[in-house]
Amino acid sequence: MKEEIRTLLEDLLPLVDFDSDFLFSELNSLDVTTILMSLSDKYGIKLEATDATPKNLKTLDSIVALVERKLQEKQA
């Protein structure tokens, strides 16, 4: 899933370094919204703007963890 998310987001946000350990600080509000929209569309999960915290978007791994958590919530 990680590589799938990386490919998806790198294509949409070519300026962003998704290997960064400080990903959130690299993003602007449009980037954040693009991430939320593309992930909710791709995985059919319900994301809120309040999910876009510095912690949830700190690294690509934390984004993957957010998606996995939302998928689990969806199945529950």
Binding site: E10, D11, L12, L13, P14, L15, F24, L27, N28, S29, L30, D31, V32, T33, T34, L36, M37, L47, E48, A49, T50, A52, T53, P54
Partner: protein, 440 residues
């Protein structure tokens, strides 16, 4: 005439302990703010009559610098905080040879109506006229807490500082809308009336991902101004549904014209493209060809160091816009499109040639054109169509990073596509009309 700094001094006398500005955990009373400005003004005492370039930031320090520069008799020229170093230095050098008319307060850099970055001179009189327009047109009040979420070097956000200071109200400055939790925390501030300014992308983010949360503040949000670019009708209707009692304004404004007209679309009619009646200090004229021009005290004084360019836009105390519009039977302005090549992206105006010139500097880019394309968040976005040498693939990231080193962030396209060739007119010019028609 009182200046903004005179009003600040008055606020410090009348409401010394009232919060003038909040930024995260920092709160600055009117007394503290005025004292900080007086101390800081001493640092600019040798700059009287000169333009002081400085990088904008979402901080109380920015406000202190801004007011202090005025207080020292200098002219404030706030730039995007990420302005590339060479751009900053070129501007700085250019400004040393410029003559500045009497009464100028600010130089704000914009692409604006001409399609190239220019320094728009704003007078102290204009600042007060903008403030009075906003107070009367939108109902700014002493009790209001205004959340600034956009860059303070941009007229959209900077202009809201003016009425707040005149009325002794409160500013709450946040670092953009990236972390929506910070925006909602700002709304939690103990105040009866809150207001803010949004560009269309902000509205889309909130209605798409935080509709219920936004609606929970319906009683508290006094008004929201939307500007920068037209708001899609679906977003206007959604905001009206979420915030039924809030005044929701679409405004006609630009750095060159100042704040001209405003329309509360939460009036049961929600008219698309309507920007309301001219405010007290403004007049709107529509030419026989349908172009909008503006008059009144909110107009710029000209482009700094560009008298010839100024004359193409500002003549006979009138600013001639590239926008098309009409006035209805109620005297309200309705806006059409633009009749030039400038692309409006989320409230920022971009000259495509500037993007293309920067892209062509990258080795391997044979030809390119920067066009407007539809985007689910911003409504539209910059798209760069690129021709590469035979057999070579476009590296989007490399090109985007190349552009980012040379241009302000909002000029870097979000979308890229490799194409075989760029459409040109019979005389070899880029065929922008062809691509506009494709997008429409």
């Amino acid at each position: 005439m009182m200046t903004l700094e005179d009003y600040l001094a008055q606020d410090a006398r009348l409401y010394p302990d009232k919060a003038a500005a909040i930024c995260g955990a920092e709160t600055c009373s009117y007394r503290e703010l005025y004292e900080r400005v007086k101390v800081r003004a001493a640092d600019f005492s040798d700059r009287r009559g000169q333009v002081v370039l400085f990088r904008a930031s979402q901080t109380i320090d920015f406000l202190v610098d801004y007011f202090a520069i005025h207080m020292a008799g200098a002219v404030a020229a706030p730039l995007e905080r990420d302005t590339p170093v060479d751009v900053y230095e070129k501007l700085s050098q250019k400004l040393t040879s410029c003559t500045i008319p009497e009464g100028i307060a600010d130089v704000l850099y914009t692409t604006g109506t001409t399609g190239h970055s220019k320094g728009v001179m704003i007078s102290h009189r204009t600042i007060i006229a903008d403030a009075e327009n906003l107070i009367q047109g939108q109902g700014f009040s002493h009790e209001l807490v205004f959340i600034i979420n956009g860059p303070l070097n941009h007229i959209g956000s900077l202009s809201k500082v003016f009425p707040v200071i005149i009325l002794g109200a409160t500013l709450n400055i946040i670092e953009g809308m990236k972390d929506i939790n910070r925006f909602f925390e700002a709304l939690d501030y103990p105040a009866q009336k809150m207001a803010t300014f949004f560009v269309p992308a902000n509205v889309r983010i909130l209605t798409q991902f935080s509709a219920d949360k936004l609606a929970s503040y319906a009683e508290k949000i006094d008004f929201i101004e939307c500007g920068g670019a037209p708001l899609p009708h679906s977003d206007m209707l959604e905001l009206c549904r979420l915030l039924p009692k809030t005044r929701l304004y679409n405004t006609y404004a630009s750095t060159e014209t100042g704040i001209i007209s405003t329309y509360n679309y939460n009036d049961g009619r929600c008219l698309v493209g309507c920007l309301g009646k001219p405010m007290p200090h403004s007049r709107i004229i529509i030419s026989p060809e349908g172009h909008i021009s503006c008059q009144g005290d909110t107009l710029m004084s000209g482009y700094i160091g560009e008298p010839e360019l100024t004359a193409t836009v500002l003549r006979n105390d009138t600013v001639y816009m590239a926008d098309l519009g009409s006035i209805d039977d109620e005297g309200m302005l309705h806006i059409g499109g633009r009749q030039d090549d400038v692309i409006n992206v989320g409230g920022y105006k971009v000259a495509p040639t500037e993007v293309e010139d920067a892209a062509l500097l990258l080795s391997g880019v044979k030809d390119c054109i920067c066009i407007s394309a539809q985007h689910p968040i911003t409504g539209n976005a910059l798209k760069l169509l690129v021709v590469m040498p035979d057999g070579e693939q476009l590296n989007k990231r490399k090109l985007a990073l190349h552009l980012r080193e040379r241009l302000e962030f909002y000029k870097v396209p979000m979308l890229y596509e490799q194409v075989e060739a760029i459409e040109r007119t019979y005389n070899g010019k880029l065929n922008r009309k062809y691509y506009r028609e494709q997008t429409d």
